[in-house]
């Protein structure tokens, strides 16, 4: 007891041996640079931050903090997933009933499920917007630092977006209701439309030839263990790379502007404070980082903003979860396909594409399932992945909104995003029974539920 008190009481001015921290605990309100650096170095949760950050890269209007929001949502999903994991039963006989129990019987069950569901939807939005932001600001480009490879972090990011979508897809099978059953029927049939290997891939995905218990348990394990695990590992790597690449791309932009003459790189304050290896470590030109008016201590400037973003995300999700009830359709029924059978909103553009892309040339037919469900999305993902290597704009356009020499590619990218949005809106609002086109003011015809 006395030792702990002694440790806590020790004054920061007490002379210490190098490497020994004057305080046992860190401060979120540091009074000196030393204390601010200490807060980073001696805190397990903060040690992945640099101790000094480039101030303009914290701007709300540069990054909109979408990556932080995505991470907060992922955290919320893991946390809200834990009670659900104990309440949900992954068996075709009991899955639907257990979700119904969570919704109507378990105390606060509806709220936990709603938090999980709303976070999942918002995470798709946040991750997608994060990708859009990174593209538009050319933040996958390397600037002035040594050893940067931001293009690979972009690739990791694209994989993380796909994992996020696949997590959603596996998640909505679990209630084993009509939406679940038919979404998986359509989704796995898209896989089976690949020539030669398709049927095998589908069989491996669903563990047989029909969607049954084997399918449910496979999707359950993917949803609860494999995909979140993979996402967690990639998230850690993503953050480490941001650190290695010298922080947000905005810092590079400002550094280039501040000093356009080539200057031999010098290990930055940021890294030497932590004793991270010099020389091979990425460095930012000394002019930008040493200017004291342009850098701030990560504690409290970065931590405060991150805390605001995380808390705001939690608050938003809590409010939405209380206001928006989670739907549960009828139990899965292999005998009746709902009419119309719609995918969740973020896959509606794909549903629209697979509808429109069956091509007939004479007697030769290419199934829209393959063209629209595999080839087109595959092309889109490939293009996204390799884009950093095709982008020939100058390093001056790194970390800036709408730079002149990236105008064409930004416009093309936005056009593609817009196209996806248009297809989504058509699928969401303008498609009725039998996937026929209806204007919003047109009434859908009465269709008997069964024949």
């Amino acid at each position: 007891m006395a030792t702990i008190k002694g440790l806590l009481k020790r004054s920061p001015d007490t002379p210490e041996a190098p490497g020994v921290h004057p305080q046992a605990l860190w401060s979120f309100r540091p009074r000196s640079d030393r204390e601010a650096g200490d807060a980073i170095v001696s805190n397990l949760l903060l040690h992945w931050f640099p101790s000094k950050v480039y101030k303009p890269s914290l701007d709300w209007s540069y990054s909109f903090w979408l990556g932080t929001a995505s991470a907060a949502l992922f955290l919320l999903l893991v946390v809200s997933g834990l009670p659900l994991l104990m309440l949900y039963v992954p068996s075709v006989e009991r899955a639907y009933q257990s979700v119904k129990d969570i919704e109507y019987v378990v105390t606060f069950g509806w709220w936990i499920r709603a938090v999980h569901r709303i976070s999942a939807h918002l995470m798709v939005v946040a991750v997608a917007l994060h990708l859009v932001r990174v593209f538009l600001t050319g933040a996958y480009k390397n600037g002035v630092g040594q050893g940067q490879c931001r293009e690979w972090n972009w690739v990791i990011g694209v994989v993380m977006l796909l994992l996020t979508l696949f997590l959603s897809f596996t998640g909505y099978l679990l209630p084993w209701d009509q939406l679940a059953f038919w979404a998986v029927t359509v989704g796995t049939n898209i896989a089976s439309s690949i020539p030669w290997i398709g049927p095998t891939v589908r069989e491996l995905l669903i563990g047989g030839r029909t969607i049954e218990q084997a399918t449910l348990i496979r999707f359950y394990v993917l949803h609860c263990i494999m995909l979140p695990g993979a996402l967690g590992v990639l998230f850690a790597y993503h953050m480490w790379r941001v650190r290695k690449d010298g922080g947000l791309a905005k810092a590079d932009h400002e550094a280039v502007l501040a000093n356009q003459q080539p200057v031999p790189p010098v290990a930055s304050k940021t890294y030497t404070l932590l004793g991270v290896a010099r020389g091979t470590a990425p460095t930012v030109k000394v002019t930008s980082v040493e200017a004291p008016d342009l850098t701030v201590s990560a504690v409290p400037d970065l931590t405060r903003r991150a805390a605001i973003v995380v808390l705001a995300t939690f608050a938003l999700v809590s409010i939405l979860a209380s206001a928006i009830p989670s739907p549960l359709e009828e139990p899965a029924n292999a005998l009746v396909t709902p009419n119309p059978a719609k995918a969740p909103w973020y896959f509606l553009w794909l549903q629209e594409i697979v509808t429109d892309t069956t091509i007939r040339i004479g007697s030769f037919t290419i199934n829209g399932a393959f063209l629209g469900g595999v080839i087109l999305p595959g092309l889109l993902i490939t293009l996204l992945t390799v884009w950093p290597w095709l982008d020939r704009s100058s390093a001056l356009s790194t970390g800036r909104w709408f730079p002149k020499d990236r105008r064409t590619q930004n416009a093309m990218f936005l056009a593609l995003v817009l196209l996806v949005l248009v297809f989504t809106v058509i699928g969401m609002f303008l498609r009725g029974p039998y996937w026929n086109f209806y204007w919003p003011w047109e009434a859908w015809p009465e269709i008997p539920a069964r024949i």
Binding site: S193, G208, T337, P340, Q351, V354, G368, Y434
Partner: protein
């Protein structure tokens, strides 16, 4: 100075052991990966059997009867039967039948066929004619026709969902 065999022996041994160790490690990881992945490929199928008895012929009305469990339409015209799959060829949703106001008579593959219905898919809007031919929408091919027979033991209609037949197939009862 040239190495004597005595000098090189320990180095060779070290190299050999290093390679042996690394190789063993790689083989072990590869074997475990293969074993884990192979275990996920089912050896036994618990899927529903493909040959199904669907009831006595007399239980089928003239015209169309939908069998939801088999996702199958069975057509009857007097003593003649044929069966068309209700699984959309695009992405596998169950199509719905709509009765035509006026039945049409056509000839398909040299056989007369009375078209009483048409089919539409609720998922992506494919449309099929009464004989299963894809008319519009994304469906890449016609609905499958399946083999029908009469079970010798109890006289029930039996459908073989693993045996597609041509559109001239008819089962005619004596």
């Amino acid at each position: 100075m040239a190495e004597t065999p005595k000098d090189s022996a320990p180095k060779d041994r070290r190299e050999f052991l290093w390679k042996l160790g690394t190789g063993a490690g790689v083989v072990a990881i590869a074997a475990q990966t293969v074993a884990s992945l192979r275990s996920l490929v089912p050896n036994v199928s618990y899927d529903a059997p493909t040959t199904v008895k669907v009831g006595l012929p007399d239980e089928f009305p003239d015209g169309l009867k939908f069998l939801p469990d088999e996702r199958l339409f069975v057509f009857r015209e007097g003593k003649t039967f044929h069966a068309i799959s209700a699984v959309c060829t695009h992405l596998g949703c169950t199509v719905r039948a709509e009765a035509l106001s006026q039945p049409e008579d056509t000839t398909i593959e040299g056989q007369r066929l009375r078209l009483t219905h048409r089919f539409s898919c609720p998922c992506h809007g494919s449309r099929y004619r009464g004989d299963g031919a894809a008319v519009s929408g994304p469906a890449p091919k016609a609905l499958a026709w399946y083999h029908l027979s009469v079970s010798p033991d109890d006289g029930q209609l039996t459908v073989d969902l693993a045996r597609e037949v041509g559109q001239d197939f008819r089962l005619t009862l004596a």
